[in-house]
Amino acid sequence: MIDRWQEVFESLNRNRFRTSITAASVAWGIFMLVILLGVGQGLQNATTWQFRDDASNSIWIFGGETSLPWDGQPVGRSIMFTDADFEQVADLSTVEYKTGRFRRRNNSIVKYKDRYQPFSIRSVHPDHKYLENTIITSGRFINDVDLAQKRKVVVIGTEVAKFLFRGVNPISEWLQIGGISYKVVGVFEDVGSEGEMRMVYIPITTAQLAYNGSNTMAMIMVTVGDATVEQTEALTDRIRSQFARNHHFDPKDSRAIRVRNNVERFAQVQTTFTMIGAFVWLVGLGTVGAGIVGVSNIMLVSVTERTQEIGLRKALGATPASIIWMILLEAVVLTGFSGYVGLVAGVGVIELLVQFMPENDYVRNPEVNFVGALTAMAVLVCFGALAGFFPAARAAAVRPIDALRSE
């Protein structure tokens, strides 16, 4: 076995210039494939990163203004949701977690002792933590009892805690929002941007009471478990027609309420990346393929040049199988080795990119996963065998008498 390898290296070594040129073309193909795969993954990572903050299986419903007359009512009416709307949506079968938001945007001065600063206030239901991927680091999130008793409690982001409390444990401390005192019951982190950690959450019922909202809310957000795109489309249609009935607007009025179906958006992005991924493989394999054709070509030349040698080996007792093995091994070793070099170089460049590329929205953490690299290697060895096949068949067909005939 060792002998067989030795024969392979010997013959590859014999024509070093030709071998290295051929190897370079394969290495280049694999290098490009790896770069394409890595950057493609980076693009996908960047997009997924932008989705990371919010549950990707969610549907958001915003109140808007009517743009079509309906039932004798004028256009330009603003639609505000109520607790009843919320309950109705929450009871729909595919809905998993649900929350309302009292207002869409609201900055208020938050004050603790002599420190104060405006922060965003969100008035929400307990399930909100699932929709925003909120991570409680100490204490707890808003719960049903807070809601039922309209308690004046608050859950603050780590940035808020850092600014107002400066190392003091904020749990059970009291702070003021717009002149009303709230007790801090929890501190949270968020996987999203820093802005998410500058939020302050209070129970929606408390907000409705404190800010003259009676029973209204500006937004309803729900998650739908693992519902399909079709199921969520059916769901949004149903919500739209239900709300049209409750609030007397034209069901075709797309401005009366706005629905953002994240399941659909996420699925679209996924599809796009599946397509990009397939395309990247196609282009990459094409490049590798060109290298492989080069290998096959050069091996054919080499077999033709070595007709005498092959004829002699046969005369001395080489079986056709041993000749085929010799040529196939040469092709596999040549592609395997040069492919490996290309792979390592490609991964190296990707690593450099990760190290030195400034953070941006388009490419994030380009990476070549282990499976991808293994697949590339496997593909390469198969192609190597394929590249060696025709030359090997030609070599096996060499007739010793033709090869050895004296000139």
Partner: protein
């Protein structure tokens, strides 16, 4: 050792069959020292190829050491060649990238013998042809006579029953020819059957039996 019975061989030349060997019958005993002569086109190379299992024949029987050699697969043919026959060629056919000892050891590689054992045996055979001190030289560093002696050592290493030499001195001058023929005669003296194809009368005269072919048939045997 060798028994040919009514061998016929055709080649297709320009769509027409060319009758190269015609009802050729021939027996060569173990240990004989035979030369085959004949002008070009007489069929002597074809006969050598058939004897060496490098080519097949269209009808008749060829027995080699009691085995009928007919319709062999390429793999079987390779194995018989390796076991029974040592070849010596006019143009040596040494592998230029292998040194003397590796060239000599090559038949044993195809017999699956370990490198270590091969090299010990190869060294022994190099010594027999007087090339022990050239073991690690490449063929390009050897003279013509040395190359042919190296090729003879390679032919001998598989301990064949027959040596087939195709114009072994064709590329050599008179002095080196003599040198090489002495080695071949020593091989024959050790009991191995030797068949030399040549067109040189003085080479043929050294053998104990001259077979002359003319138009694919036996002309003279004696």
């Amino acid at each position: 050792m060798i028994r040919l019975e009514n061998i016929n061989k055709f080649y297709q030349v320009g769509g027409k069959p060319l009758h190269v060997l015609k009802e050729l019958s021939l027996t060569i005993e173990t240990g004989e020292y035979v030369s085959i002569m004949g002008s070009s086109g007489s069929g002597k190379s074809t006969l050598l190829n058939i004897l060496g299992i490098l080519d097949d024949y269209d009808s008749g029987n060829y027995h080699l050491g009691g085995t009928l050699i007919r319709d062999l697969s390429e793999t079987q043919a390779a194995q018989y060649r390796n076991a029974y026959i040592g070849f010596v060629f006019q143009s040596f056919h040494l592998l230029p990238f292998k040194n003397a000892i590796e060239n000599v050891a090559l038949p044993l590689y195809y017999r699956g013998i370990s490198r270590k054992e091969r090299n010990v045996t190869a060294m022994d055979f190099l010594d027999r042809v007087g090339l022990a001190d050239r073991a690690h030289h490449l063929p390009s560093e050897l003279s013509g006579g040395q190359k042919q002696r190296l090729a003879i050592a390679r032919a001998l290493i598989s301990e064949p029953r027959i040596i087939l030499a195709d114009e072994p001195t064709g590329a050599l001058d008179t002095t080196t020819s003599d040198e090489v023929m002495q080695v071949i005669e020593a091989v024959n003296a050790s009991g191995i059957t030797v068949i030399v194809v040549t067109h040189e009368q003085d080479i043929a005269d050294r053998t104990s039996r001259i077979i002359t072919l003319r138009d694919g048939a036996m002309a003279v045997d004696g």
